[in-house]
Symmetry: C2
Subunit: 180 residues, 2 copies
């Protein structure tokens, strides 16, 4: 960030009066350009005992398997965002059951949220951001080829919880040194 | 948003190629300026049977009672953000127990998250954004003077759940026509 989006003048990286963090501040009009974490909303689409995964057609982690998820948009509820991503990435019709997992990833300033969802039919297919879309039983999950730790944890919780028939909401901080 | 923060040239509001939503796009360098919902993280600080509320010293809803909460910062976990806001608004020392309520407010593009927390001592006081800070029993809660619906719902759930001794995570969409 180099210029003010309101007045086009150069901005500085400094701590504004009354604040205690570095912000992007316009030296001309004093506007503070806050930057905040983004929410990623997704579904764990379940059909019987199987779950729907998408193989990523885009970076990061192209070629690896993931749950349908993406950045929440302005004006959208988190559950609507999760269903939209499920339509976009898997052309899949699903119904939200309940919030299931929530992860903070502070090193990349992201908050992940997954909803358990019922896959309503088998008319799914790869969307533009997916190479393929497939249903997996627990024993067939490509555990070594999952895209992100949040996916791994959500699936592990799910198959454990499925045996008990209870799905409490799980919250965890996923703090990693650098990559994802 | 009027100018590109990377190159200072004017931006247009249009649907980029391959997208389906209006975005702020620089006509000069093609940078897309995404805007996404923000997360508000807060605590429900509990001391015995009482909960800690802050009376707001700032707009919106100045003079009304709220739970300590505020915008999550980059690089922060949601639970750390909740504890930071509790320190800033109430000078209070608390310990996170568990995620408790989560609300989507799509009309203002916000996602609220409250954590149940144990208030560790009685050394609290009004921070800069609070007029006063006080512990309330259920019968003393100023129900008609709470700042936001998310506060009302979190407190109602809590006092119900306290009687049962179980605190499942609650998710709801709070969709209102205009204000809050």
């Amino acid at each position: 960030m180099k210029f003010c989006s309101q007045c086009s003048q150069p901005i500085s990286h400094k701590i504004p009066d009354g604040d205690n963090r570095l912000r992007f501040v316009c030296d001309h009009c004093d506007l503070i350009h806050y930057q905040n974490p983004r929410v990623i909303a997704g579904c764990l689409p379940v059909f019987g005992e199987r779950v729907l995964l998408c193989r990523r057609a885009i970076e990061p982690r192209m070629g690896y398997w993931t749950l349908p998820a993406g950045f929440l948009e302005n004006g959208e509820t988190t559950s609507d965002g999760a269903l939209r991503e499920t339509r976009e990435e898997a052309n899949a019709n699903a119904r939200i059951i309940e919030l299931y997992t929530l992860f903070s990833l502070p090193h990349i300033s992201q908050v992940y949220m997954f909803f358990r969802a019922e896959l309503l039919d088998l008319n799914f297919s790869a969307g533009e951001e997916s190479l393929e879309v497939e249903l997996f039983s627990e024993q067939d999950i490509p555990w070594d080829n999952l895209a992100f730790p949040a996916i791994n944890k959500t699936l592990k919780h799910f198959f454990d919880d499925q045996k008990r028939g209870a799905y409490p909401v799980r919250y965890a901080d996923l703090v990693y040194p650098a990559r994802i």
